[in-house]
């Protein structure tokens, strides 16, 4: 156990060294969410000031953007940290070391969390300072939303990392594109009721749907939907287990295919 923790700490330190070595990388983590927030923040201000029917939903829009970013950046943070190993042709060194797959996954999760905090917290503060939108007004529910979205982002990150190990650079673009598939289905900007009836089961099979429905309940009615969050957490436990199993299976498949040694060339 101690050895395991030591290896997780070693890998986290390795990723932290990379992050620390480049101020541009640090800036990049904040840059995209901040730019996105500015665009949506101005729209929020415009709608809020217009006194139109849309004014009441302006806050929903901004909350949705912030939470979607948690999901998106969480997955990017996980996958990009893993891709560092491919780009630096270091994967064989790691696979030859006593590092276990779950230890690698744990260090990637930790790093994803660190990157998320660096990228999201300043943007949440910026949103409050510039547009007066206090994301923390969602109350303790925010923590539940954050936790569930992060867990989902890790489950997806594990699958993408496994696909990159198995398929090589061909699967790299999934790091950017995979989340876009979820965007229309997990009802970020509209309620599930807006979807055609036949898509409802699909939407409810996706964990972010629970979070965004929960967010709407918190912002519109001021209620925290515990039922939604518990269901979401249970579903996330299943997806995280499936994500890790897929990661290990794809790693094993790469060992059969013989790609680990030349990965990155």
């Amino acid at each position: 156990m101690t050895q395991s923790l030591n290896r997780i700490a070693a890998m986290t330190a390795r990723y932290y060294y990379i992050l620390r070595s480049s101020s541009l990388r640090l800036l990049e983590i904040i840059y995209w969410p901040a730019m996105q927030m500015l665009v949506w923040g101005f729209l929020y201000t415009y709608l809020y000031d217009s006194k139109s029917a849309m004014a009441s939903t302006a806050g929903l829009l901004l909350g949705a953007v912030l939470l979607w970013d948690v999901l998106f950046r969480g997955q990017l943070g996980f996958t990009f940290t893993f891709l560092e190993e491919i780009w630096s042709r270091n994967l064989a060194n790691l696979m030859m070391s006593p590092l276990q797959p779950f230890e690698l996954a744990a260090s990637l999760m930790l790093m994803s969390l660190i990157r998320l905090v660096i990228g999201t917290l300043p943007v949440m503060l910026l949103t409050f300072v510039l547009f007066g939108f206090n994301v923390f007004a969602m109350g303790p529910g925010l923590l539940a939303f954050f936790l569930n979205l992060v867990l989902t982002s890790w489950a997806i990150g594990l699958v993408v990392a496994g696909l990159v190990i198995r398929q090589g650079f061909g699967a790299e673009s999934l790091a950017y594109s995979i989340m876009i598939v979820l965007l229309p289905l997990c009802c970020v900007y509209y309620p599930v009721a807006a979807l055609p009836l036949w898509l409802h089961p699909v939407a409810w099979s996706l964990t972010p749907t629970y979070v965004f429905e929960g967010m709407r309940a918190a912002l519109l009615d001021g209620t925290f939907r515990t039922d939604l969050m518990i269901e979401c957490l249970a579903l996330n436990a299943v997806y995280l287990g499936m994500g890790f199993t897929t990661f290990v299976a794809l790693l094993q498949s790469a060992r059969h295919k013989g790609g680990l040694l030349t990965m990155g060339e």
Binding site: Q3, R14, Y17, E84, N93, L260
Partner: protein, 275 residues
Amino acid sequence: MSRIERFLPRRHLTSVSPNTTPAQNNAPDRPNPDETPAIAVEGLCKQYRTHWAVDDVNFIVPKGWTVGLLGGNGAGKTTTIAMIMGLVVPSFGRAMVLGHDMAIERHKVLSRMNFESPYVALPGRLTVRQNLMVFGRLYGVANLKARIEELIEDFELGDVLDRVTGRLSAGQKTRVAVAKALINDPEVLLLDEPTASLDPDRAEWVRSRLRAYQKRRGATILLSSHNMTEVEQLCDFVVIMSHGRVVAMGRPGELAERFKCRDLDEVFIYLARVA
């Protein structure tokens, strides 16, 4: 029977046996038949679609020996080493290291072995010190700072210690990579062309360090190389592969004699052409 075997009499496929005599380095006089070999490769095969990259390879490496794995490009050396490391799962047969099957229980032995290859890089954005620290912790090295100090001294890394690894020269990178490969004081060391891309002076320097380590630790080394001088200097025994199969085995001097060649270089060329 393979195409190569038709050209070569069976006597060229001699394995390391208890009667095999010593080697030039620190190897024991004879392998102990009762002792588990450091590496045992048994009927090892790897098929990629219709192509057999490795085809029924058998050899053992007794503890404390340095064995060279030779062959031209595409002979199957790297795939064989990858299967010994457990990075590639064999289609048939097995590769055992210190008594453990590397396809299924590699985690039991990984902390006792290490490897170096110029085709696998260390993280280029980390400094040399950071890389040694990270790998030392991954291998669970006790008293890591002291071990790193030893390696700094042995491999003259003091002047590059706080430099970013990716910006070092090829020679400096090789020194760092070999230092990383020795960080856990491995019992079994796998080296894939350890001096490729080095000038003769630096290559000899690296060889001298490997010899010193082997002598001090009594480690087992499996080395793949195209440099026959290097193999003659370092290895107690050589295994020559061609088209995925072992075509000859023996001590470097014996092989030259057996094939009526002046040196290992000529043996290599002869076997490559026959194959």
